[in-house]
């Protein structure tokens, strides 16, 4: 059965079983491989992307739940890698192995949409993605840099 969804502003029609996780549609059908698979049970957050602006763990969201909706992946965050969160990540040199960072960045973008100047407690509560290299120390600093940049007039999503 064909399902329609919009990904990074482009409408797609995909023909997969409706229970297929959104992650695998994005990665296999649409070849947007920036969104990663790691645990498959919505624990780690490596697969985080946005549906209608809200962060979800796409390994555990069936494609049927995204039908007719607007999906944003790391590839759609900015055309040229200059979203304030991406710029902050580069300024702080956050990634180590980098595998979790697409999902981490998508979670942080969503955090900053809800809390433009987040407290430590808000960061702790909403950025629950796992990073095995434990780049958390720079992530927290980069969130501050991104928040300052956005409040100073930098672009948001």
């Amino acid at each position: 059965m064909a399902l329609e969804l919009t990904v990074n502003g482009v409408r797609h029609s995909v023909d997969v079983a409706p229970e297929t996780p959104l992650l695998w549609v994005v990665r296999d059908q649409l070849r947007l491989t920036g969104t990663k698979f790691s645990c498959g049970i919505a624990q780690c957050g490596a697969c985080t992307l946005h549906i209608d602006g809200r962060p979800v763990r796409s390994c555990s969201v069936p494609i049927s739940a995204a039908a007719g909706k607007s999906v944003t992946t790391i590839e759609g965050l900015s055309p040229d890698g200059t979203h304030p969160v991406q710029l902050a990540w580069m300024e702080l040199d956050v990634p180590q192995c980098g595998y979790c960072q697409s999902g981490m960045i998508m979670s942080v973008v969503a955090l900053l949409e809800r809390h433009p100047n987040p407290t430590d407690a808000e960061i702790d509560a909403e950025v629950t993605n796992a990073c095995r290299c434990s780049t958390y120390h720079r992530i927290r600093q980069a969130i501050r840099v991104a928040a300052a940049s956005i409040s100073a007039g930098g672009r948001t999503l």
Binding site: D28, K36, Q86, C100, Q101, I123, C133, S134, I139, R140
Partner: protein, 784 residues
């Protein structure tokens, strides 16, 4: 092409269950056969594997294009430790090109199979680990064609990424490679201008003729340089740290832009035309294999093509480690393959002695071994009589669990086998070993094996671990002509990994009336196949006792054990530093000053560095100043190589720990005093490695353990195997470097190893309860 794929699919179905039968040659007819070193797919942006350059290389490490872009070949694998940048920095320090034009790219493991190393890479110059002008003292100094026992003398020498040794082992020849290229670029310019080479110099990729002021660029003379041999490469010298201009500066990692945009290509991201996906199930009890499986039950599931049984991967190919045999299901998409294999009934043939193992009987066996003679590593003085005369005997027994690396990217590999060639896309820490595996499994010579290297989604000690490549090669070899992308589920990644061995230790000390040890005895026990069993205690005691005995003990179990980050050191540092805290507190002395005094009594070559580390960390932390109730400080020494005067990395950390009355631990601050040796290549990467290892070892201290139940690892995903999140990262990390008189022993591990003992001691200070086995979450940490 689609027709050929369909043919392949049909033949694969027919070949179903024929575990030994290779597919027929007919399968490859009409399939595009790649002939060159180039991978048989277009290279996407963000892919890092070797491609044939459009311009002739200057040497095997350096290609300068007419647009001044400098490609630097990297023979280690980027897995977060910064080698992509630090290896390039070592080359470019000497090359003197424009750093903003540098583009790293993985070295070709295929070329490495065909070409010998330039002679100038083979001999380390200088006088070892204490000579700032020399090449250091590589850990894997011996030459070994297979790369297992030492560094091969093939083109790229050491392609393995392990032992935190990429800088230690590769620096001298990477600096030489940059210098050789620079000197040949200068020779080419001098030839062009018809002037003596002594009159030309370069900086930032621009070559200047001093007397005339004429300039040219590397890009303009690179083609000529490629044709200009170095007249006397044996005379090339490398810069000592006092002359560095790029090395020693903080450089952002060159792979980061691709990792914040999702463009970096990991092995899991590889896609080939006609590619099929494989999901696997391996016997969860190591040493077990498939007894039977029922493919008919899933044959008609969507996308399913075939099932292939695979044997226990040949231990010869994976350093003797024994995993399980299993089954792969091949389908059009991985999700289809995974969904189908989960519905397929599989019966296992499990060795009963393995199935009878559990954590309790394994640990009990190790405890018994501690009281048996063991293998004596050090025996100074006469411990037995000292213990008889000691004023006070203190004894403690510690234990640590099995631990996996749990890297974020599950194991995967994409393999295309044709009749005379193997192509493998993989993130791999041992491409030379994987190349050999491919040749052994397919019968195709190593010179026809092409590894297209990808960044790795975490490594943490996984080198040479297998068997992701071996499983994928086996399956692809039975599907010749069809690219097979094998991907493990997270649960399979837990089954198919090696573990840091479970361990126990008994430490005893006899103290004199003033509380100083007159004898110390250390017994440690692990699986006998576990590497690193002597770390931290061998050669000489780090903390002085006139009578000192260290012995290793072991049992033999079926859980495959390997090199998890730090290898033996994290467990042994926990034992050693915990025991120092216990001794100091038992005799009412300050644990910092107690350590300091005992180090000062040794004759260890780097004892001044160890004392300096403790002094700096203590001073940074405000050691001794009051803290609120429920907060405590603990100190620990971390060292790699402190015992023998070679390469070493010395650090000390003070951990400030808060503990709520409900038992919630928070690491508030870590103060780090860290040895920078003669100089760090990229201090930014070092800081990142220290920061990351702090929370890595917080995980070890507080959360992580794997238990064995009926012969299998009980934990299988991140719901039962916890990973710390940002809320457990310490709010404050302070790092201060200090210079020492040796080259460093690496940075990718052995930092933060004092966190488990530090938290345990802080818990003791706050609650009065001393816990000696990890993780601490298993204990009651409440207090009132």
């Amino acid at each position: 092409m689609s027709n050929d794929n369909r043919t392949g699919a049909i033949l694969s179905r027919r070949g179903l269950l024929l575990t030994g039968a290779a597919a027929t040659g007919a399968l490859v007819i009409g399939f595009w056969m790649p002939q060159r070193a180039q991978p048989p797919i277009a290279t996407p942006e963000g892919a890092a594997w070797a491609v044939e350059p459009a311009t002739d290389e200057v040497n095997a490490w350096v290609v300068v294009a007419p647009d001044e872009t400098v490609t630097v070949r990297i023979a280690q694998t980027e897995l977060g430790q910064g080698v992509w940048t630090s290896n390039a920095m070592m080359v470019c320090e000497e090359l003197q090109c424009d750093w903003s034009k540098v583009r790293p790219q993985y070295a070709s493991a295929n070329r490495d199979a065909k070409e010998m190393a330039p002679p100038w890479t083979l001999n380390v110059m200088g006088n070892g680990a204490n000579d700032p002008a020399g090449g250091g003292e590589p850990q894997f100094g011996t030459r070994d064609r297979t790369g297992l026992a030492g560094i091969p003398d093939s083109l790229y020498r050491r392609m393995r990424t392990n032992a935190a040794a990429s800088v230690k082992d590769g620096r001298y020849y990477l600096q030489l490679a940059g210098a050789e290229a620079r000197e040949r670029l200068l020779l080419a310019a001098a030839k062009t201008w018809n002037v003596p080479v002594e009159e030309v110099s370069s900086a930032n990729g621009i070559i200047t003729h001093g007397p005339s002021g004429r300039t040219t660029t590397y890009g303009k003379v690179a083609a000529l340089a490629a044709q200009t041999p170095h007249p006397n490469p044996a005379q090339i010298r490398i810069k000592p740290p006092s002359e560095w201009t790029l090395m020693g500066t903080e450089q952002k990692n060159l792979d980061v832009p691709s990792k914040v945009t999702g463009k970096a290509v990991y092995g899991i991201d590889v896609h080939l035309p006609g590619m099929k996906w494989a999901a696997v199930k391996s016997c969860p009890v190591y040493g077990g294999k498939v007894k039977a499986y029922d493919f008919e039950r899933i044959r008609s599931e969507p996308g399913v093509i075939s099932a292939i049984q695979f044997p226990i991967p040949d231990p010869v190919l994976i350093r003797g480690r024994i995993f399980g045999g299993g089954v792969a299901v091949i389908a059009d998409s991985w999700y289809q393959a995974k969904t189908a294999i989960e519905k397929m009934p599989i019966e296992w043939d499990v060795p009963p002695e393995n199935a009878a193992r559990n954590t309790a009987n394994i640990r009990a066996a190790l405890m018994v071994s501690l009281d048996q003679p063991g293998k004596v590593g050090v025996n100074v003085g006469d411990c037995d009589s000292a213990f008889r005369s000691g004023a006070r005997i203190i004894e403690a027994t510690y234990s640590v669990p099995y631990l996996p690396r749990a890297r974020m990217e599950p194991g995967n590999a994409t393999v295309l086998v044709t009749d005379d060639r193997v192509d493998i896309w993989i993130g791999d820490q041992s491409p030379q070993e994987t190349r050999r595996s491919a040749a052994m499994i397919t019968g195709i010579p190593e010179t026809n094996v092409y590894l297209h290297m990808c960044h790795l989604g975490g490594g943490y000690g996984r080198n040479g671990n297998g068997p992701q490549a071996e499983q994928a090669i086996y399956i692809a070899n039975l599907n010749r002509g069809t690219p097979i992308h094998l991907l493990w589920t997270r649960e399979e990644d837990f089954v198919n990994t090696t573990y840091r061995s479970i361990g126990v230790a008994k430490l005893r000390a006899a103290l004199d009336r003033d509380g100083w040890p007159i004898a110390m005895e250390v017994r440690t026990a692990t699986d006998e196949q576990a590497p690193g069993a002597t770390a931290g205690f061998d050669v000489a005691a780090r903390y002085f006792a006139p009578n000192y005995r260290f012995s290793t003990h072991s049992g033999r179990f079926h859980i495959p054990v390997g090199t998890r980050r730090g290898v033996g050191a994290p467990a042994q540092h926990f034992y050693r530093e915990s025991f120092m805290d216990e001794l100091a507190r038992a005799v009412g002395k300050d644990p910092y000053l107690y350590r300091r005094e005992l180090i000062s009594r040794t004759s260890l070559p780097y004892k001044a560095d160890m004392i300096e580390a403790l002094d700096i960390a203590a001073e940074m932390s405000g050691w001794g100043t009051p803290l609120p109730q429920g907060t405590a400080r603990a100190i620990g020494l971390e060292e790699r190589g402190a015992e023998d005067g070679g390469h070493a990395t010395i650090s000390a950390q003070v951990h400030t720990v808060a503990l709520s009355k409900q038992g919630k631990v928070r690491l508030m601050c870590v103060d780090v005093a860290h040895d920078e040796g003669f100089g760090l290549v990229n201090p930014l990467t070092v800081k990142k490695q220290i920061e990351g290892q702090i929370t890595w070892f917080y995980n070890d201290a507080m959360h992580q353990e794997c238990n064995v139940t009926e012969g299998r690892i009980a934990q299988s995903n991140f719901d039962t195997f916890s990973l710390s999140r940002i809320d457990e990262d310490p709010p404050e990390i302070n790092i201060r470097f200090f210079k020492t008189g040796h080259w460093l022993d690496g940075m990718g591990h052995d930092r933060g190893t004092s966190i488990p003992s530090g938290i345990a001691d802080a818990v003791f200070q706050i609650t009065g309860k001393r816990y000696r086995d990890l993780p601490l979450r298993n204990h009651d940490l409440t207090w009132s």
